[in-house]
């Protein structure tokens, strides 16, 4: 098929694939920059070989076509560390241990493709002096580079070895590095790990490479195909130097990840072709395992002579003539002696957060090879590092006409599941969400403003009028407290999420507020109490019809892990469903025991719920509990409970009217001037959540203690407990969240002050006993007030009867009535109780109390 004459030009094209080759292309300066730039520096030899040399080099024909016998001879003569050899499939010929003494076979890296032949060939053509040149380049000043790149194998290898030996990252927070000594060279420890575990894969963070040597990083990103094998080589040499006796399944493969070119799938463009990229997305489909032929085995049917042919770009050049007996077309493919490698195709869709509004998500095809096969499943969120490829499509394999469209895919080198890590650690956003320096500066500037708290609060749902405190509460909820781990002391995780309940008259834009919050946070879920069942909130088990495998499907609460779950019409929720929330709201986990699956899922979600009063209108004469008829056990788990009522006051009306009218005639620009952009707010929150974790200062702890003691005191005067440790925890969370708003690493007394104020405001609204006018926390925490009220009602009834038995006396003395009632009742009647009974009767318009006299109506 391919004649020797055409081979070199085709090979050469590989290095200069159309996309990267466009030196005339105005559209792709970056891809072209490295090359032209480097040649302008002049210390590199830009194009070392000429095609003519390739063509006349005998090795070229050998490596490219029917090769094995002669080539393997040829190979064994060359030094094992030569780049020419690395990972060529021929190294597996008959299982001959390639690196002799070490006995570790190299495994072909299908992820890098067979393309490495191009540099090989070119280096080889002047490779007669190749190794010498590398050795002498310091002296001679002339360096050899891989064709089409500026990569010098020797220097590159050396640099990478130095990187492996010396790189230290004391600030590393990655969980992969858990258990490693951060002050020792990181990758040396990883090599040790390999020797222990025996998994010959070395994951290298590109960020580290960049920090160590910017130039090396640039080469890695621009020419991964050439540089990664060099890295492999370097790593292997180093490894076998250290652990000469170690036996690995195959040679170590270096897997770079987190190429800083982390991109949204949408921003991939022709310039990225053949470069190392990292993109994030969600797996939507995986194919079956595909055995891909790497090397075809042919046997002559006449003389049984065998030949091996490497697959080139998915095609096998069938030898037309047997070289042993010269029979034409006598060679037949023997399948079970051919070499195959695993391959899987994975479709990845861009994550919903990356999508611009109003467009559909993009998808990309990813090929996983060898042990990366079956590493990911549909639904996984992954970061993929790999090489972006484009290949022309033929209309018909047997026609020369080609579609003018390229097929693109990514050869995966490294997968990283982003949601998997959530299971054991938090703050995965740290890596997902990268902030530009400029953005950080604007955010910091904003944080430095004294009124940042008010600003942010007013930026929250600007279309909803006033309710400043509610917005502030929600703002603190968005920031959340600091996560603390008390599992050592047996307490387990300490909830950092703030839960908020809004109750109030219908039509007070509660739903709108919920919608807004749901749109603001990246991992928000919105459900309506009416429509959701316990199963929809938690998780359910389904059986996959094909594999008969049980699959756990997660519901809203689990999905909003680390986010906010907005539940509208909370009161309409069935009791069974609501009871699920008990565990979630304090322990932050969900326990599932269904269909043989018993597990505990994380549900570290904040809950923002909205409830309507039972009587459709809020009855100010009743307590919160009576109005919304929710169990107090659940209510006590809300940090803040707000009432959204119509204040019915003229000044308020005027401001409301002004606000609404302005809403309808102000132009977009005016609005933007007045309020913070939603995007800024989003970033601000994400930044604070990721980078700020405030701790209590001494002063703040004192203030908190005082506040708590004060709260306890209020109630104790009336023989009631008015605050519980839960309230203290709430206060701490709120104070921490407020410190986060200020980007402060320390919780100070102003934070505590605001937390106290907000807590009090919320209590004033929700826990005020409508009869006494006192804030009564027990209404929320114990529901005691409800039973007290029952008792009170009995007393009131008794009192009523007593008065009725007295006949038609229009007025009575207060004290006398009290004494009479006391005398009549079996249980002790306190003065408070008597007062309350009187007030209840007054409420019923049965009597009025004026001073010391009681009048019937």
């Amino acid at each position: 098929m391919s004649s020797p004459a055409s081979t070199p030009s085709r090979k050469r094209g590989r290095a200069a694939d159309p996309p990267t080759s466009g030196s005339e292309d105005p559209m792709s300066p970056p891809s072209q920059r490295p090359r032209s730039h480097d040649s302008s520096i002049g210390d590199l030899q830009p194009m070392p070989t000429s095609p003519a040399m390739d063509a006349c080099s005998p090795a070229v024909q050998d490596t490219s076509l029917f090769s094995s016998p002669r080539r393997s001879v040829l190979l064994s003569e060359v030094d094992a560390s030569s780049p020419l050899l690395y990972g060529t499939p021929s190294s597996r010929v008959e299982g001959t241990p390639r690196s002799g003494a070490r006995g570790t076979p190299a495994r072909q890296r299908a992820d890098l493709g067979s393309v490495r032949k191009a540099p090989q060939v070119d280096l080889h053509s002047d490779g007669a002096s190749g190794d010498n040149a590398v050795a002498s380049d310091q002296a001679g000043g002339q360096r050899l580079v891989i064709w089409g790149t500026d990569v010098n194998v020797g220097t590159c290898k050396e640099k990478f070895q130095r990187f492996l030996q010396r790189f230290v990252d004391p600030t590393s927070r990655e969980d992969e590095n858990a258990g490693l000594d951060l002050n020792e060279p990181l990758y040396v420890q990883k090599l040790e790990e390999i020797s222990v575990v025996g998994e010959p894969v070395l994951n290298v963070n590109c960020g580290h490479v960049q920090a160590f040597d910017g130039d090396l990083y640039r080469q890695l990103v621009s020419y991964p195909q050439e540089v990664i094998p060099t890295f492999d080589m370097a790593a292997n040499e180093l490894y076998f130097e250290r652990f000469p006796d170690s036996a690995l399944e195959h040679q170590i493969q270096v897997r770079p990840y987190n190429a800083l070119k982390t991109r949204n799938m949408r921003s991939l463009n022709p310039e990225d072709i053949d470069q190392l990229i990292t993109i994030s997305g969600m797996v939507i489909r995986t194919s079956q395992l595909i055995p891909e032929m790497q090397e075809a085995f042919f046997r002559c049917q006449v003389c049984a002579f065998s030949a091996r042919v490497e697959v080139d770009r998915g095609r096998i050049a069938e030898p037309a003539v047997c070289r042993n007996c010269n029979t034409t077309h006598s060679l037949a493919l023997v399948h079970n002696r051919s070499a195959f490698s695993d391959k899987q195709m994975i479709k990845v869709q861009e994550s919903p957060e990356d999508m611009p509004a109003g467009q559909t998500p993009h998808t990309t095809v990813v090929y996983a090879h060898n042990d990366l096969v079956d590493k990911v499943q549909p639904g996984d969120r992954v970061n993929i590092t790999g090489i972006y490829r484009a290949a022309p499509m033929r209309v018909n394999p047997r026609q020369s006409q080609v579609k003018s469209v390229y097929k693109t895919h990514i050869d995966a080198i490294h997968f990283r599941k982003t949601d998997e890590r959530r299971l054991h650690r938090l703050d995965e956003e740290a890596e997902q969400k990268l902030f530009t320096e400029e953005r950080v500066r604007t955010l910091r500037e904003l944080a430095a403003k004294p009124d940042v708290y008010e600003r942010l609060a007013s930026a929250l749902a600007p279309s909803i009028y006033e309710h400043e405190d509610i917005k502030k509460g929600i703002l603190l909820q968005l920031f959340g407290g600091t996560r603390k781990d008390f599992s050592q002391t047996g307490r387990g995780n300490f909830r950092a999420e703030v839960n908020i309940l809004l109750c109030g008259d219908p039509g007070t834009s509660k739903s709108q507020l919920l919608q807004y919050v749901f749109n603001l946070v990246p991992r928000g879920q919105y459900t309506s109490g009416k429509g959701s069942s316990a199963v929809g909130l938690t998780a359910y088990v389904t059986k996959d019809p094909e594999t008969r495998q049980l699959v756990l499907q997660t519901g809203a609460l689990v999905l909003s892990d680390n986010g906010i779950c907005c539940i509208d019409e909370f009161d309409k929720m069935s009791d069974g469903t609501r009871s699920v929330l008990h565990e979630v709201m304090e322990q932050q986990t969900l326990s599932i025991a269904k269909a043989g699956i018993i597990c505990q899922l994380n549900a570290r979600t904040s809950i923002l719920a909205a409830a309507n009063p039972v009587e459709s209108q809020w009855n100010p004469k009743k307590t919160t509990i009576e109005n919304i008829q929710l169990p107090h056990t659940l209510l006590s788990r809300f940090d803040l409970i707000f009432l959204m009522l119509d204040p019915q006051d003229e000044a308020y009306d005027r401001r409301l009217a002004h606000h609404l009218v302005a809403l309808y005639y102000q132009s977009e620009e005016q609005i933007e001037e007045e309020y913070l952009d939603m995007a800024v707010l989003k970033d601000y929150i994400a930044y604070a959540r990721t980078y700020i974790s405030p701790r209590l200062s001494e002063e703040a702890s004192q203030a908190l203690i005082e506040a708590y003691v004060d709260m306890r005191k209020i109630g104790s005067g009336r023989g009631m407990v008015s605050a519980y440790p839960r309230q203290l925890e709430s206060l701490i969370r709120l104070a921490e969240a407020h410190a986060k708003v200020r980007f402060s690493e320390k919780v100070e007394s102003i934070d505590v002050e605001e937390a106290k104020r907000l807590h009090r405001e919320a209590l004033k609204q929700s826990a005020t006993d409508p009869r006494t006018g006192f804030v009564d926390i027990s209404i929320l925490t114990t529901g005691m007030s409800a039973t007290a009220r029952k008792r009170k009602e009995e007393v009131a009834q008794a009192l009523k009867k007593l008065i009725q038995t007295k006949g038609k006396t229009p007025a009575m003395k207060y004290q006398q009535l009290f004494d009479d009632l006391r005398g009549q009742s079996e249980t002790a009647i306190t003065k408070d109780l008597f007062d309350e009974a009187l007030r209840a009767l007054a409420d019923d318009d049965f009597l009025t109390v004026t001073g010391r006299t009681v009048r019937l109506l």
């Binding site: 463009n269 022709p270 195709m345 998500p361 006409q401 080609v402 009306d653 409301l656 809403l663 005639y665």
Partner: protein, 626 residues
């Protein structure tokens, strides 16, 4: 200078001409765009371009310039193509630089993939469908104004689909046969084997796939739609378009049979790409004879789809507007009279219906859409033909509309929300994928008692979301994606609708014609076409007017609100004020006034009061109504 025929019949020639002139200079692309932009913006010359909407595909010349009025139904991933490539003549070894833009397939000579002069560029494919629910009068008007001279091709056969399939097969296999004979003896055995298996495979496929495939699902949002779907290849600024945008696309028609994935050789493609399922191939490369490709030269986003209005931003448009504004008042009263007759003499309902027809979402404040005015027309006669006739009458007025009978079967069975099909990798359309300002007519009189299943509940929720938030949550199976929309929803019901609405008017018929059907027919027939055209223009013009509220009126409105609250806090809530502001806005616009006057404000208040009273009365009369 090329003649007119050239740029319509052979636009590629022009592109190549410009390319050849400016070889090496990067601005040839811009020159091409400018050349065609000039042509398209000229009103006369654009009408010469034949439209895919009114001319059957087989009448159109391949590689000619056509236009297509469409809605972006789905967006496929961007594709890289050879922008510039070099071909090598195998015999002479001479190289030639070619331009690959606006083409699907390279020209015959082998391509030198390694040429340094090659340029890879990026383009995006949109799957476009004719505007869903487009009214018949819009189509007729567009077709009438077209000046394109279309010569029917000689090989016209009425059964298009059948012909295309056959032809594709035919064209595909022909070169093959030639090759087979040419291929010579050595591996003829091999070849024959191959051919056989292919033929078998083809047979198997046609029998196996026929139940799924027979009519290719063109993925129209609404059932029963007609017209071609089109794969539109966009070269410039594709980031700026969104799903559900309505566009008028001018581009080069490409129907090369080589494009059709389906008739391609199965085995070859499956080796190349086992990931691409048959479904995906069908969706992404359907037969070019059914879904032609269109290489875009120029795109005109459509603000409205009213052919009666001159194109935006032209001198002509301004003159037209000023002349129309002078007679706006009279048109309004005529239209109001007409609607009053249609609504059985109920002037109040007619007024509200008119306001509803010119409403549009003009802005969004965070989640809140402003300007929407979903109307619930309660008290509609149960006799079915009434709502049906009402819809027909509205259809004659608005540019696009869809009537959804909310019967139980419909609610439980209809696919309202678009859903991503990961197997075929496309967005399966749903009835709520409607263009901006489409009129969605929900007929609740058809709803009867019974069980709603899960789909039904989801559908009702989706309708509720459209009404309250003007958004549709597309189902991406792993997550939902919110797409904002701008749909005028009109609900007709007997009593209060179960769906939310911005405003409810209870119909109070003033006359009871013995034969409702006959009466409505007569009313409809009494309208002259010229009158109807006036109404149509009126609705589009009124909707597009600018609007603002002056400072002093703002003050008056605020005072008014405070006073009303003072008298009786229960009488008016923030929500009522919202509605009042919308009503007064629409009322102003309906009179062609671009700012709110005190009179209009009072009028709006009055209108609202009458409406509320009517609802109160009706509540009392009914008693049990909540």
């Amino acid at each position: 200078m090329p003649s007119v025929d050239d740029w319509i019949n052979n636009p590629l020639g022009i592109v190549e001409g410009i390319f050849a002139q400016g070889t090496g200079s990067p601005d040839w692309e811009k020159k091409v765009l400018d050349y065609f932009k000039d042509k398209m913006e000229e009103n006369v010359s654009r009408t010469w371009v034949p439209s895919l909407n009114d001319v059957p595909l087989h009448y159109l010349k391949p590689n000619g310039l056509v236009r297509f009025r469409c809605l972006v139904q789905d967006m496929f991933a961007p594709e890289f193509y050879m922008g510039v490539y070099e071909t090598v003549d195998p015999t002479t070894e001479s190289k030639a630089l070619k331009c690959g833009k606006y083409k699907d397939v390279t020209e015959c000579a082998p391509v030198d993939f390694n040429s340094r002069k090659a340029v890879t560029s990026e383009r995006q494919t949109f799957y476009c469908v004719p505007i869903p629910g487009e009214s018949a009068w819009v189509k007729e008007n567009y077709a009438g104004s077209s000046q394109a001279r279309v010569v029917p091709s000689t090989s016209y056969t009425p059964n298009r689909q059948k012909r295309s399939f056959e032809e594709d097969e035919e064209m595909d296999s022909q070169p093959q046969r030639q090759r087979e004979t040419n291929a010579g003896t050595p591996n003829s055995a091999d070849f024959r084997g191959n051919g056989d298996s292919r033929r078998q495979e083809r047979g198997a496929r046609s029998s196996a796939a026929s139940p799924v495939s027979s009519p290719l699902d063109l993925n129209f949002p609404l059932p029963g739609e007609q017209g071609p779907a089109c794969l539109v290849k966009v070269y410039e600024g594709f980031e700026s378009y969104k799903v559900n945008d309505t566009l008028e696309v001018f581009g080069i028609l490409s129907v090369d049979p080589a494009l059709s994935g389906v008739n391609d050789e199965k085995e070859a493609s499956s080796v190349l790409d086992p990931m691409e399922t048959e479904e995906e191939q069908r969706a992404h490369s359907p037969p070019a004879s059914l879904v032609p490709r269109l290489h875009v030269l120029h795109i005109q986003p459509l603000q409205h789809n009213n052919p009666l209005l001159p194109p935006a931003a032209s001198e002509e448009r301004r003159a037209f507007l000023s002349s129309f504004l002078s007679e706006l008042d009279s048109v309004r009263s005529e239209l109001l009279k007409y609607l009053t007759h249609v609504l059985l003499g109920d002037a109040l309902a007619a007024e509200y219906l008119l306001l509803h027809l010119i409403s549009t979402v003009y802005a969004r404040r965070d989640v809140l859409p402003l300007g929407k005015f979903a109307l619930n027309l309660s008290g509609c006669p149960h006799s079915c033909p009434y709502t049906e006739r009402l819809y027909q009458i509205l259809q004659q007025l608005v540019t696009s509309s869809y009537r959804l009978g909310m019967s139980l079967a419909n609610m439980n069975g209809a696919r309202l929300v678009p859903r991503k099909d990961y197997v075929a990798n496309r967005l399966v359309s749903g009835a709520l994928q409607l263009p901006s300002n489409a009129c969605l007519f929900l007929d609740e009189t058809q709803l009867e008692q019974g069980q709603l299943d899960a789909t039904g509940v989801r559908n009702i929720t989706a309708l509720g979301n459209v009404i309250s938030w003007q958004k549709v949550d597309y189902d991406f199976s792993y997550h939902q994606m919110e797409f904002p929309c701008n749909i005028n929803v009109l609900v007709t019901s007997e009593a209060r609708s179960l769906l939310p609405s911005d405003c409810r008017v209870h119909l109070q018929p003033q006359l009871t014609p013995p034969d409702l059907e006959e009466y409505l027919g007569a009313v409809q027939a009494a309208q002259l076409p010229s009158q109807l055209n006036k109404y149509r223009t009126y609705l589009s013009v009124a909707r597009e007017l600018d609007y603002n509220i002056a400072e002093e009126v703002t003050k008056a409105v605020e005072d008014d609100f405070v006073d009303m609250r003072k008298d009786d806090p229960q009488s008016i809530s923030a929500e009522d004020l919202h509605r009042l502001l919308v009503v007064s806005r629409l009322l102003s616009l309906s009179f062609g006034q671009t700012s709110l006057s005190r009179d209009t404000w009072l009028r709006a208040k009055n209108l609202e009061m009458v409406r509320m009273n009517r609802i109160q009365q009706q509540k009392c009369a009914n008693g049990n109504e909540p």
